[in-house]
């Protein structure tokens, strides 16, 4: 009987204290700090742009790079420190220009976007140029979330969340099926001949093709696309012949070599 009373008291005590409203666990700014990083770097540290496939009228492009801070928004603007590494080969105000007037995460926000204008300068025709961006700590932000580790076939690589490589060139490289190492190269070469950026550009423009589709990795083997190469070869050669007959002979970039499609269409 005595025990019953104790149990009953315990029971009621439990009833009274059992339900307690719990606060939602939120990120602790104080303890964990506000790290700043490039969200893109969660998958890749490289962002590249090629003017190679653009029409000649295109002289610049603007890339948008998002910067994000961990933690809660604040009720004041928080400038962050964006550093351009000295190893960058892009020249400021020549090859690129950062369009933002200030680099700051606005009050009430947790992200900012940097607009980087890339200019189509002549130097891009020879080789790509690079811009290395790094987000460094300052009074508002830390670099606590710094790296991620990726193990590929036993090789351990560390990727920085606060670093980003931007590259730019004006080289229209061959699409995968026109690369010499491609298993389809001999097929392609037979119809289209030797690759040149100018030839590829003319082909794209003349037949109004979507370059992003043609250069995509599996284009050649998709939906019988490889059949189209013979059409392009013949069609381009017919056009080159027409241009020549009309005294508008089309030459390769050197201005001397007559443009010519593959042996299979001659």
């Amino acid at each position: 009987m005595k025990y019953s009373f104790v149990y009953l008291a315990g029971f009621f005590f439990c009833l009274l204290t059992a339900c307690k409203k719990d606060r939602l666990q939120v990120y602790d700014d104080e303890a964990s700090g506000n790290s700043i990083y490039f969200p893109l770097a969660e998958s890749t540290n490289q962002l590249s742009y090629s003017f190679g496939y653009d029409k000649s009228a295109v002289t610049q492009t603007t890339l948008r790079v998002v910067i994000r801070a961990i933690g809660a928004p604040k009720d004041f603007d928080r400038p962050y420190k964006l550093v351009i590494a000295d190893s960058s080969t892009m020249k400021k105000e020549v090859d690129y220009k950062i369009l933002n007037t200030e680099t700051s995460i606005r009050k009430g926000k947790v992200a900012d976007t940097i607009l980087i204008q890339l200019n189509r300068t002549p130097v891009l025709k020879t080789a790509p140029v690079f811009l290395y961006l790094q987000l460094q700590p300052n009074e508002h932000f830390e670099n606590n979330m710094l790296t991620r580790t990726v193990i590929t076939a036993g090789t351990v690589t560390e990727y920085h969340f606060n670093r980003l490589q931007i590259s730019s060139d004006d080289i229209a490289g061959p699409p995968p099926f026109w690369m010499e190492k491609s298993p389809y190269y001999s097929w392609t070469f037979n119809y289209l001949g030797t690759f040149s950026s100018l030839k590829f550009q003319l082909l794209i423009n003349r037949f109004n093709l979507k370059v992003e589709e043609v250069v995509s990795p599996n284009w050649f083997t998709t939906g019988g696309n490889y059949y189209r190469l013979s059409g392009w070869g013949f069609g381009m050669q017919a056009w080159l012949n027409r241009m020549e007959a009309e005294n508008n002979t089309v030459y390769e970039a050197d201005g001397v070599t007559k443009m010519k499609m593959g042996a299979g269409v001659q």
């Binding site: 029971f11 059949y227 189209r228 059409g231 392009w232």
Partner: protein
């Protein structure tokens, strides 16, 4: 004792359950009715002419806003296409629709957003935009020494077709130079760009234009040279383009070459098929019979050696048709006909036969009926028909009726019907003083199961003009040609043309 212990255990378990029973629950169970909107008065689909007005007045009912203050809401009429075009931001739609016309209807959302809560209601419907350009007759004529394309546009079952005179000038199409030769229609795929389209091809003795009318406009066109895989210096043009089903077609050029387009394997016009395996050019008649089926097949006539030649899909050259072995002697030897070709055409009639009319040096005319395609060449009949149809030797134009297989032919301004299955021959239309410039049966390529199309194209087309005023007296008459040799009856008549050279039917 045992009982007491188990009793204690029970109570302890109960307590444990009580302690853990309530875990964190962040849900909000403080329910509150929100405003609800019912959108009525919007049909599922609207059809509008491009450039025409569309008026929709939806009825909106709000559960908590009986008096409907429109300032409390924002509205949006948005098209679900690539650029998410907003037609209007008003509660009612009264707009001119400038969306390009296309076969598929546009999906449009009418959205109502309550400004205070952001709650959104929407209603979905479709807008079908047409240019009014539908299926209809393409009419190529010569007027004032110029080529002109007119278009007879289908409107509805009970109305006559609407005439668009000089549609290329009217709708910024190509400018036709030279004398008109032919017009044709097909669902073309460009061998280079893979662009598909309902295509009108128009030829003159100077130019050939390939016009993509997919969006029911005539502004998108290319010159034949841009569709070629070989360059031929000018003057170069097509004498005829004959489409087959499934985007393949043959093109006969002014150099006497027959070439084909087979876009799905990347082959553009330019591969000459009237060659022998040793590469010699075969001089063929400009009259050739393209196959009925989808694969490439054409029956040609070698005018030098006076023999049939055929080209089949997969071959780059042509050859004399080979006869299947048979115990009976063949009706004729395709490799040695010894006559001149007058006319040849493949027809849907009577088990897909190809008719060929040949004239012997004696003046007698023979009708060869052949079953031929990519797999077989079977001479079914070879009959001297001058006995029944004595005037046929003087005929200048021919047409084969699709269902009964009548051979219709023109002598002067009189039109005759010869029935090869009972040898009856009869003059069916006398155009009197008018000059007949064309007789034709249109062959449908795609919509051959659509009764309306079938009915329209079952008619005999007779184009004529008054020789005293050839530039504006052109008439297009359609005649019903019934079965069982019943009398021919005029169905419809259209005028306002020049001297009609060719017609075709644009299938939509």
């Amino acid at each position: 004792m045992q009982n007491k212990l188990s009793g204690h255990c029970g109570i302890i378990c109960l307590l444990l359950l009580l302690v853990t029973a309530c875990s964190k629950d962040l849900g909000n169970y403080d329910y509150k009715e929100i405003n609800q909107c019912t959108i009525n008065g919007i049909s599922d689909e609207y059809t509008v002419l491009r450039g025409g007005n569309l008026d929709i007045t939806p009825e909106l009912q709000f559960s908590q806003d009986k008096n409907f203050d429109r300032n409390n809401y924002s509205f949006k009429w948005q098209v679900a296409n690539d650029n998410q075009l907003v037609l209007s931001d008003k509660p009612e739609l009264h707009e001119i629709i400038t969306l390009p016309s296309q076969t598929e209807a546009y999906t449009v959302y009418f959205m109502v957003t309550e400004k205070s809560t952001g709650v959104l209601w929407r209603s979905k419907f479709r807008i079908r935009v047409s240019t009014n350009i539908s299926d209809g007759w393409l009419v190529l004529s010569e007027a004032n020494s110029k080529a002109r394309l007119d278009y007879l546009n289908y409107l509805s079952d009970n109305e006559p077709y609407q005439l668009y005179k000089d549609i290329f000038t009217q709708q910024s199409g190509p400018k036709l130079e030279g004398k008109p030769l032919f017009v044709n229609f097909y669902y073309r795929i460009d061998a280079f760009s893979n662009v598909r389209g309902k295509t009108v091809v128009v030829g003159t003795d100077k130019d050939t234009y390939i016009v993509n009318t997919q969006t029911n406009t005539f502004t998108s066109y290319i010159n034949l040279a841009d569709a070629m895989s070989v360059y031929y210096p000018p003057p170069y043009h097509a004498e005829s383009v004959k489409p087959l089903y499934a985007s393949r077609s043959y093109m006969y050029d002014n150099l006497g070459q027959l070439t084909y387009e087979y876009p799905t394997v990347g082959t553009a016009y330019g591969r000459v098929v009237n060659r022998t395996i040793t590469g010699e050019k075969i001089n063929i008649s400009p009259i050739y019979a393209e196959g009925i089926q989808s694969s490439l097949y054409v029956l040609m006539y070698d005018v030098v050696n006076r023999r049939f030649m055929e080209h089949k899909e997969g071959n780059e050259v042509s050859s004399v048709p080979a006869l299947a072995p048979s115990p009976l002697p063949p009706k004729f030897d395709p490799g040695n006909m010894g006559m001149d070709l007058m006319y040849m055409c493949a027809t849907n009639a009577v088990t897909l036969q190809t008719y060929a009319l040949l004239k012997h040096s004696s003046g007698k005319v023979y009708l060869a009926r052949i079953q031929c395609d990519g797999t077989v060449f079977n001479p079914l009949a070879f009959d001297e028909i001058t006995t029944y149809a004595p005037m046929i030797a003087q005929a200048t134009q021919f047409a084969i009726e699709h269902s009964q297989g009548y051979l219709i032919y023109l002598v002067g301004s009189k039109i005759y019907r010869y029935n090869p299955y009972d040898n009856t021959n009869e003059m069916v239309i006398d155009m009197g003083s008018r000059t007949v410039s064309l007789i034709k049966f249109q062959r449908l390529l795609y919509n051959f199961q659509n009764p309306r199309y079938l009915d329209e194209t079952s008619k005999l087309v007779v184009a004529s003009y008054d020789p005293a005023s050839p530039d504006n007296s052109g008439t297009l008459d359609l005649y019903t040609v019934p079965a069982l040799n019943a009398p021919v009856v005029k169905y419809r008549s259209y005028n306002g043309f020049g001297k009609i050279v060719d017609v075709s039917y644009r299938e939509n």
